[in-house]
């Protein structure tokens, strides 16, 4: 299955992936309009320590501990991709606690959300990878 892979060697820490992610999930046509005066809550996060940066998003694990721990069945797998059903989520945050990558984020709207490889939004391919200026993010089969 194709996954998003981060290559620390080429990550500049520019955080464009975070903005492209947030933008893609607004389903709006213009980033300036969509993200103006908003605090973005992206599904990918650039981790930084000193001079080392890399972007972390959902690994779409083979046996996702988040799905195992989800008390309502809101998290489920579809063609290998860990997806999220907002209607079922009760915001218990168990998944946020158990995800070893910190890839699930609490939403202000009373549910959690996570990377779904842009399958559901208008981008249709991972926006973070598409917009990475230095190919530090790759969407490929490994």
């Amino acid at each position: 299955m194709k996954r998003v892979y981060a290559d620390e060697k080429w990550c500049l820490g520019c955080k464009l992936c975070e903005y492209n992610c947030a933008f893609a999930n607004t389903n709006q046509p213009d980033m300036a309009v969509a993200l103006k005066n908003t605090e973005i809550v992206p599904r990918i996060k650039v981790e930084e320590t000193g001079k080392i940066n890399f972007a972390v998003s959902c690994r779409h694990c083979k046996n996702p501990i988040c799905i195992q721990s989800c008390i309502t069945g809101a998290l489920y797998k579809e063609n290998g991709v860990v997806m999220m059903d907002k209607n079922k989520c009760v915001n218990c945050l168990t998944c946020v606690l158990v995800c070893p990558y910190g890839a699930i984020v609490e939403d202000s709207g009373g549910s959690v959300f996570k990377c779904e490889l842009c399958i559901k939004n208008i981008c249709k391919e991972p926006a973070c990878v598409k917009g990475c200026p230095n190919k530090a993010l790759l969407f490929e089969e490994r």
């Binding site: 060697k9 080429w10 500049l12 820490g13 520019c14 955080k15 464009l16 903005y19 492209n20 933008f23 213009d30 980033m31 300036a32 993200l35 103006k36 005066n37 908003t38 001079k51 917009g131 200026p133 230095n134 190919k135 530090a136």
Partner: protein, 500 residues
């Protein structure tokens, strides 16, 4: 002290489009952009801007543009903004003015004053998509005559040649003046394209020995990084006598850039200035040059062609004639618009001659003296597109060297601040966080794309002229016409005027 120098560029930020993502702030090594928390605003310090466009290119909402400042001195035709600015800089620093990249002065660009021919009615043009079209070039000494043995079979006595799939090579840029990743990109692209790149005078990083078959190793006046394995690693050896951007002077890579692997590759201690003398201290005549040419050939068992690179200067034809007799296999001539990582401004702007005139006069002279077959001619010094290449070949070049064009393909925006060492595009810098901005996967692809595109265009233009091989275009000056040139210029270029 009052700062007399006002910003040349201004950063304009469209407040409606800026989402304060701070990408510009994180990407500018010159610290132009800063987020002010108190005001919740991005502030731009335009005086630090070098107009490299890194922020403009990466801004996700296209909120930025760099404009020329219209804040003006009371300039006139004699005392231009530039002339005054230079005096202010020197009055403050007391030093020699430094510049990067090629001569920016408004001297004539002869490529733009020549037009290419095409077939109509009386001879057929060729469609390169339907018919074979040869762009392969061999560089090196060509045999003087065809020799056959007693059975009438050809005796193959062609001296060693460089084989290029297309008449373009990446010219010398040292590891030190450009980054590891820039070198990696050039090396990978050269290998894929079946052409050559050039180490410049910085030695060959141990990681790039694997690209040896596509590498030209340079021996310059400082002899940095030169040793047996280095000479043997390359496909050819280039003796650098001069550089178009700074004829007559040497090089100086400041100690700050001699870090880590650069020091190891150059074989000099960390932090020491790498000074290449103006002359080779063992070359004061053609005879001396011949000694070095043959020393290098001897050291590599006569398996590698030797290139002698010179800057285009006033007596270039006579100098080239001497070089052709020195035993060199290839002469590389670098015109005055050729780039540099750093050169004294006055030398760069005032010294040397245009490559077009140098090429025409050298080719003519070597033909007249009957020694054109002794050497191949490679020209560089601001080849900007495939049209320039076709014109260069029609004037008599065997191949061209490109460097500025290659850098631009990799992302360089010609901000001409290489000498500051803070290249935001990861090219002319040794700062690790900046170097990593140039991913060779991306940059080598862009180089391959550029050269492939140019090769297609060369084929199109050759096809238009009814020529199906680059060999038939070489020195074919009838395919060129001058436009707006004086009789003298036409005579030197050896071409007719348009309409003739």
């Amino acid at each position: 002290m009052i700062n007399y120098i006002n910003p040349q560029y201004e950063v304009e930020r469209d407040a409606d489009r800026c989402i304060k993502c701070r990408v510009c702030e994180r990407q500018c090594a010159n610290l132009v952009h800063l987020y002010n928390e108190e005001a919740d605003k991005m502030i731009s310090y335009s005086e630090k801007c070098v107009c490299c466009h890194r922020c403009v290119s990466l801004c996700p909402t296209r909120a930025l543009k760099i404009v020329k400042s219209n804040n003006t001195f009371k300039e006139n035709a004699n005392w231009s903004d530039q002339a005054m600015r230079e005096i202010y800089i020197q009055a403050e620093s007391g030093g020699v003015l430094l510049s990067s990249m090629g001569n920016p002065q408004p001297f004539p660009v002869y490529w733009d004053k020549m037009l290419i021919n095409a077939s109509q009615v009386t001879n057929p043009s060729i469609d390169p998509l339907r018919e074979p079209m040869e762009t392969k070039v061999y560089l090196g000494k060509k045999a003087e005559e065809t020799v056959r043995d007693e059975n009438g079979n050809l005796v193959c006595n062609t001296p060693v040649q460089l084989e290029l799939s297309t008449p373009i090579m990446f010219s010398a840029m040292s590891y030190g003046s450009i980054s590891y990743n820039a070198h990696a990109s050039l090396a990978r692209a050269a290998k894929e394209l079946k052409i050559y790149y050039n180490t410049g005078e910085g030695g060959l990083h141990e990681d790039f020995y694997e690209f040896g078959a596509n590498t030209i190793v340079q021996v310059a006046s400082g002899r940095f990084g030169v040793y047996k394995d280095y000479l043997e690693a390359g496909a050819a050896i280039e003796i650098k006598m001069g550089q178009g951007a700074k004829p007559g002077i040497g090089g100086h890579l400041p100690g700050e850039k001699i870090v880590g692997d650069v020091s190891k590759t150059r074989m000099i201690p960390k932090g020491t200035d790498a000074i290449s003398p103006a002359p080779h201290h063992d070359i004061y005549s053609i005879e001396d040059l011949r000694q070095l040419v043959y020393s290098l050939k001897e050291a590599t068992a006569y398996k590698k062609p030797v290139i002698v690179k010179i800057a285009a200067v006033h007596n270039v034809a006579a100098i080239a004639s001497g070089i052709a007799r020195s035993g060199a296999d290839i002469i590389a001539i670098d015109g005055f618009r050729g780039g540099t990582g750093a050169a004294p401004t006055r030398i760069r702007n005032e010294v040397g001659i245009p490559i077009e005139l140098a090429l025409a006069s050298v080719d003519q002279r070597l033909r007249e003296e009957g020694i054109r077959n002794e050497v191949s001619l490679v020209v560089g010094g601001s080849i900007r597109n495939s049209g320039d290449i076709v014109k260069a070949i029609a004037l008599g070049a065997d191949a061209v060297y490109i460097a500025s064009g290659a850098l631009i393909a990799m992302g360089c925006h010609l901000c001409r601040s290489c000498h500051t060492g803070k290249c935001n595009w990861g090219i002319a810098t040794q700062i690790p966080e900046l170097v990593k901005r140039l991913n060779p996967d991306v940059a080598s692809r862009r180089l391959v794309n550029l050269i492939s595109a140019w090769t297609h265009e060369i084929k199109e233009m050759m096809g238009g002229m009814g020529i199906n091989s680059i060999e038939a275009l070489r020195g074919n000056r009838l395919m060129l016409r001058g436009i707006g040139l004086t009789d003298k210029e036409l005579k030197i270029l050896g071409i007719k005027h348009a309409g003739e």
